[in-house]
Symmetry: C2
């Protein structure tokens, strides 16, 4: 099974995308993980390494798809 | 069943998104239609009405999600 990671930060744009886009992914093909980078700051490095520049973003098998625009990743760093 | 429309214009960014994002959508929940606005210019008005500003874009139940950035819709007008 392939891996899908949906990164978000709780912003309104993120929440709408999460509810619709993350929920639209085929559970037969993908194991979907949802990561809130505002609450799990430890995963910022992982997101950056994957190429995530802004949230919300969906990473499918290592390829990043930025969905609309909520916030830059840099805004989430302490 | 809900409706998902994936608008693109054949650009490299669009093709990658089409192959991965459109293909990741749950066929149990969504009927997916793929529209190439470069070849089906007659559907530009429909895309604009849905709120599509750039391609590739995915419209899920009427809500627009712009995925990465390929081209502005205005660039597709004759």
């Amino acid at each position: 099974m392939s891996k899908a990671v949906f990164y978000h930060a709780g912003c309104p744009v993120c929440v709408e995308a999460e509810q619709q886009v993350a929920a639209s992914i085929d559970p037969v093909k993908y194991k979907v993980e949802i990561v809130h980078l505002g609450e799990q700051a430890s995963r910022l490095t992982e997101a950056e390494s994957a190429g995530v520049k802004s949230v919300p973003a969906l990473v499918l098998d290592g390829n990043v798809f930025h969905i609309n625009y909520g916030a830059d990743l840099s805004a989430l760093k302490a």
